[in-house]
């Protein structure tokens, strides 16, 4: 019993370390060399469209609703202390520090990450990656790198948009609907929110999340078993692993940035 448990632990441990090594090597090979700008820029732009622009709708709608819920919940809690004037900072800080980067990363993993994995996996299964290699074109540079950069660039932008529209959602509910004073809402918020501590730290968080989520997504696709079952497994793994890693790293980053 104990022996089996230990064996499983050892096996999982070596598997994880091997996956880390392989994925690190893959990423290194994909993005290390100096990019040929005129050739790669169009590829990155195309992927920015697929990964970023096409995720806009879900990010904006979710951001608006989450901001509205924050406004509503925050108001009912704060009014109990007669502190409804602090609604502005409550909404803004929760969004900028936590919800913006984290929820964006989770939605991104589900919307764009899974699509990246499935697309790359399918290219592998239909031998498109192999045939590229045989045309002396490195699929890491041609397929993986642009997708990685596009994910890395678009997620922070999406997180900024998420937070902005969330704050507007909080304003709609708090000010327009529940009657918090508009001047108080914005001025107390401005007094409490610091650009460096709150906005920039949020951006740093979402850069870190962008890195890991996109990395996981492209690696799962690139290393998946080239069968339909393998692709579906890899896609699920992308979403599960990326979400878990984001939540775990969020705790670490939060305690580094905001803990004392």
């Amino acid at each position: 019993m104990l022996g089996n448990g230990l064996a499983a632990l050892g096996r999982n441990g070596t598997n994880i370390i091997m996956a880390l090594g392989q994925s690190g090597l893959m990423l290194f090979n994909a993005i290390w060399a100096l990019p040929n700008f005129s050739k790669n820029a169009p590829l990155v732009i195309k992927q920015l469209y697929v990964v970023g622009v096409q995720s806009l709708a879900i990010i904006l709608v979710s951001g608006l609703f989450i901001g509205m819920v924050l406004g509503l919940q925050g108001y009912t809690i704060l009014i109990g202390y007669g502190a409804e004037n602090s609604l502005g900072p409550m909404v803004a800080l929760s969004l900028l520090r936590e919800l913006g980067p984290v929820v964006t990363a989770l939605l991104f993993a589900g919307r764009a990450g899974s699509a990246l994995t499935a697309e790359i996996g399918l290219m592998k299964a239909t031998e498109q990656l192999s045939s590229m290699e045989l045309m002396a074109v490195d699929p890491l540079r041609r397929v993986i790198a642009p997708r990685f950069w596009a994910g890395f660039i678009s997620m922070p932008i999406l997180a900024l948009l998420f937070s902005s529209i969330g704050i507007i959602g909080g304003h709609l509910v708090g000010v327009e609907w529940l009657g918090v004073d508009v001047g108080n809402f914005w001025s107390v918020m401005q007094a409490a929110v610091d650009f460096q501590d709150d906005v920039l730290n949020g951006v740093i968080k979402s850069l870190v999340f962008a890195f890991v989520v996109t990395w996981i997504a492209v690696f799962r696709g690139y290393s998946c078993e080239p069968t339909s079952e393998g692709i579906s497994k890899a896609t699920t793994q992308t979403v599960v692993h990326a979400s878990l890693v984001v939540l775990g790293m969020d705790f670490v980053l939060t305690s580094l940035m905001f803990g004392e």
């Binding site: 732009i45 195309k46 920015l48 900024l160």
Partner: protein, 160 residues
């Protein structure tokens, strides 16, 4: 979907991203620009700093003129030493100014209130002005709620 349209959409995407950053910087956050430019450093010693923190604002008449940059304990006097960066735009506070730890509202954040003093007539005005590295002598510590309540109860009982 042709390339041109994709390029335009991606350009738009990046632009609204920048717009969001601008919105957050200008309308949501205080960019703490007072301490971004040229600053000079002042010190103050307190018995008790209460809940004052690094980056707490320093205000004169409600206007933010600087920020707390460091809080440490003087090993000899056991007083708290607060360092603050004051914006170079606000110069010429007299040496007789008072520095107090105040609270925004009943439960709000604590900040440093700087109350400008006056300049003695007859003496050299230059030498009476706070400059980089000076320490403000006249300080009032934070009000600690428990102490206040204790004092209040004590005064009540002594009146009986």
């Amino acid at each position: 979907m042709n390339n041109r349209k994709i390029e335009i959409l991606v350009g738009g995407f990046i632009c609204i991203g920048l717009a969001a950053l601008l919105f957050l910087a200008l309308s949501v956050a205080n960019t703490s620009s007072v301490t971004n430019g040229e600053t000079y450093r002042l010190y103050g010693k307190f018995d008790n700093i209460g809940g004052l923190k690094v980056r707490s604002p320093v205000k004169v008449g409600g206007v933010v003129v600087g920020r707390v940059t460091d809080i440490s304990l003087d090993q000899e006097s056991y007083l708290a030493v607060v360092s603050m960066d004051i914006s170079g735009r606000y110069k010429g506070f007299p040496e007789s100014s008072t520095l107090s730890i105040l609270t925004a509202g009943l439960l709000g954040e604590q900040y440093l209130g700087l109350e400008p003093g006056f300049i003695m007539p007859g003496e050299d005005p230059e030498s009476q002005i706070l400059t980089d590295g000076d320490t403000i002598q006249d300080t009032k510590s934070a009000l600690v709620l428990e102490e206040l309540i204790g004092q209040f109860l004590f005064s009540q009982s002594s009146e009986d």
